[in-house]
């Protein structure tokens, strides 16, 4: 082959070598570009302003209070540390009823004057108005809302991104739901996974092993929608019957499905950890008169502990990121989890369920990317831990 072509191919090979690194950097860039622009924004629906009187614009409320106002749960300014006055809500349709088209103007040229008149007569009013219907340089006072911070995003207890005109973006229920389902899944999977790993590494003879390994691989090859479907038709009714629930789509159903899905990871990684123990260790224990089982529990498992914990962490990491199966069986209630027999919603399920409806580039869209960032950080950290554990084992 021509020397220069050969050089060219080698450059191409080198480029491909770095390709995954570039992809990871790109993923970080695109994910965090959208996700970080979510932090610091005001949770008002895009294109709308909430106009209040000058006195009331001094009050800053949070998004939950705003939602309660628009849900008619808060009726008086005094409930949100304002002067006692009824909160009256108006939107564009109301303005069209109150004012004649001539007063407002054909293109809402006079909307500013009209809203000012309304606020003068009803100081407690709150007018939700399209930005397009307001002059660009209007001097009206808008409602002060708390800006979204990283802390409020992760610690607020309500998730109502589609509430109008003020969305509530508290990811805590989703975060807790994710952790609940995933950790419970690993707790369920661990006895089976560990037993499987011990059996494969120590007890089974080669013939059985050669049969079992491909079957366990098969378990990891089944698509997550198929697990979700199986969960939906088998595990959900099962959980519903056993616990006498009105709905079977619960955190527990999700955990059971995830437990089955996590088994191959836990088994393969822990089996590897047990198998790579130098045989001197095993033989020394046996030579001292310990039984095989004693050797396994007192010598091999402690020796492989770091590898087994890597398996557990990896399993949790995978479970946290699992989307479709969880989406199909957990009931998807975006509320603070009440327990295993109640519906929950996980972060991946939220992204999958809501991104289709969120308008591109809007606040809801950005919030879902911010959730993606949270997921990314969680999996990055678990990977890092697993990586450092396995590197330590090698030394």
């Amino acid at each position: 082959m021509n020397r220069s072509i050969e050089k060219g191919v080698e450059v191409l090979i080198k480029t491909c070598g770095y390709f995954t690194s570039v992809v990871v950097v790109l993923i970080v860039f695109f994910l965090f570009k959208e996700g970080l622009s979510f932090v610091g924004s005001t949770p008002v629906e895009e294109g709308f302003s909430i106009v209040v009187s000058k006195a009331n614009s001094a009050i800053t409320i949070n998004s939950v209070q705003a939602k309660d106002i628009f849900d008619s749960k808060i009726h008086n300014w005094s409930e949100i540390s304002g002067k006692p006055d009824f909160i009256r809500l108006f939107d564009l349709d109301d303005l069209l009823e109150i004012f004649s088209p001539e007063e407002l103007g054909a293109d809402f040229e006079n909307s500013e004057v009209c809203i000012r008149r309304l606020l003068d007569s009803l100081p407690g009013a709150m007018v939700v108005v399209l930005n397009a219907a307001l002059p660009k340089d209007h001097k009206l006072h808008t409602l002060q809302l708390d800006k979204i911070t990283l802390y409020s995003f992760l610690s607020d207890r309500q998730w109502f991104p589609t509430a109008k005109p003020v969305g509530v973006y508290g990811a805590l229920p989703l975060l807790l739901g994710t952790l609940l389902v995933s950790i419970m899944a690993i707790i369920l999977a661990l006895p089976f996974g560990l037993a499987g790993a011990i059996y494969l590494a120590e007890i089974a003879d080669n013939r059985v092993r050669n049969w079992l390994k491909p079957l366990i691989e098969l378990l990891s090859g089944i698509p997550s929608v198929v697990y979700g479907f199986f969960g939906l038709v088998v595990i959900v009714p099962f959980v519903q019957q056993v616990f006498g629930l009105s709905v079977g789509e619960t955190a527990l159903s999700g955990s059971i499905v995830l437990a089955i899905m996590a088994l191959p990871t836990i088994i393969t990684v822990s089996e590897d950890a047990i198998r790579t123990i130098p045989s001197d260790v095993r033989q020394a224990s046996l030579a001292l008169g310990a039984s095989h089982w004693q050797t396994i529990t007192r010598v091999l498992i402690p020796y492989a502990a770091s590898g087994i914990s890597a398996a557990i962490i990896l399993g949790v990491g995978r479970a946290i990121g699992e989307t479709m199966a969880v989406l199909m069986v957990t009931g998807n209630a975006a509320i603070m989890p009440h327990g295993l027999t109640h519906p929950v919603r996980t972060i991946p399920a939220t992204i999958a369920a809501e991104l289709g409806e969120a308008s591109f580039g809007g606040l809801h869209f950005k919030a879902l990317f911010a959730l993606g960032c949270v997921l990314f950080v969680i999996t990055f950290v678990t990977n890092y831990i697993v990586d450092s554990i396995s590197r330590k084992r090698k030394i």
Binding site: E10, T20, S21, Y199, P223, S224, L232, L355, D387
Partner: protein, 293 residues
């Protein structure tokens, strides 16, 4: 004469028998779970599968007809994503195992590949939507979906390539160098042919993975319902896993769409079974070949 503590010995023996039995039972129950899943889907899906099911489009709001557009859509996605990922993945594997000398760079690349494989599939979906659908303006299309799936399957291809290259004995390379062959020539003519069956295993496993992934194509490609087949890669397509998700969860008449769902799930399972069977056959073939040396 040494006296053996007989009682302790008994406990030792019985506890070993007990716990070995327990480990065996738990391991068998894992296989039983697998068989339960397979049995459940095969027994209910087998009666649905017919030539019509495989060759017709869904009809009557997905209660009748078949899955042809979804099946073909999945084949499109497999074809394009593998066309993109396989060459890049194999070359990346070659770079890591044959070229990179520096241990730190090698470790860095491995770490990044590992990270990529750990990223949840829904995050790939978000990324694909942000980069391919919006930024590069491909729209929701087969192209965007295939690119997303290609990135997702890269780590698996890279890792299997790397492993199979690693298992090629150094002697082959040295022999080739001794005959005056260049490094690239050696890789092309000596190393790759030996490692090839195992590299193909990675390709096959990736096909299995790609055919079952739903989350990455939710926003980059998958269409809820398309009666016609896509005519270019810039169009959306239906896909089997998404189709299963749709008919399993959003049908108005569950009793009528259920059989369709069982049938679709069975087709997915069959793909997975074939993929795993092939991968295992190839792996055994490779193992016997490497042993021969």
């Amino acid at each position: 004469m040494i006296e053996f503590p007989e009682k302790a010995d008994q406990i030792k023996r019985w506890s070993q028998i007990f716990f070995f039995g327990l480990a065996r039972i738990l391991s068998i129950s894992i296989i039983l779970i697998l068989l339960l899943i397979l049995y459940f889907i095969v027994s209910r899906g087998i009666s649905v599968i017919s030539w019509e099911f495989l060759s017709a489009a869904p009809k009557e709001s997905m209660t009748q007809g078949g899955i042809m557009p979804a099946l073909v859509g999945t084949l499109y996605l497999i074809f394009w994503s593998m066309l993109i990922a396989f060459p890049i993945g194999v070359m990346a594997g070659i770079y890591v195992n044959e070229y990179s000398q520096d241990g730190r760079i090698k470790r860095f690349i491995k770490m990044m590949t590992n990270n990529l494989s750990g990223i949840p599939s829904i995050v790939f979906g978000l990324f694909g939507m942000a980069l391919f659908v919006n930024y590069l303006n491909f729209g929701a299309s087969i192209l965007a979906g295939s690119l997303t799936l290609a990135l997702l399957s890269l780590p698996l291809i890279i890792r299997t390539t790397e492993e199979s290259l690693k298992s090629v004995d150094q002697g082959f390379r040295n022999g080739s160098y001794a005959l005056g062959a260049s490094k690239l020539y050696t890789i092309r003519k000596v190393v790759l042919p030996i490692a090839f069956p195992n590299i193909i295993t990675g390709l096959i496993l990736s096909i299995g993975r790609v055919s079952g992934e739903t989350a990455p194509i939710l926003f980059t490609c998958a269409a809820y319902f398309l009666p016609k087949l896509p005519s270019s890669v810039m169009e959306q397509c239906m896909a089997l896993p998404y189709h299963l998700y749709v008919i399993a969860t959003s049908g108005t008449d569950v009793a009528k769409t259920r059989p369709m769902a069982y049938g679709t799930a069975l087709v997915l399972i069959i793909i997975v079974l074939i993929v795993n069977l092939f991968a295992n056959l190839l792996r055994n073939y490779f193992a016997s070949k490497v042993k021969m040396k």
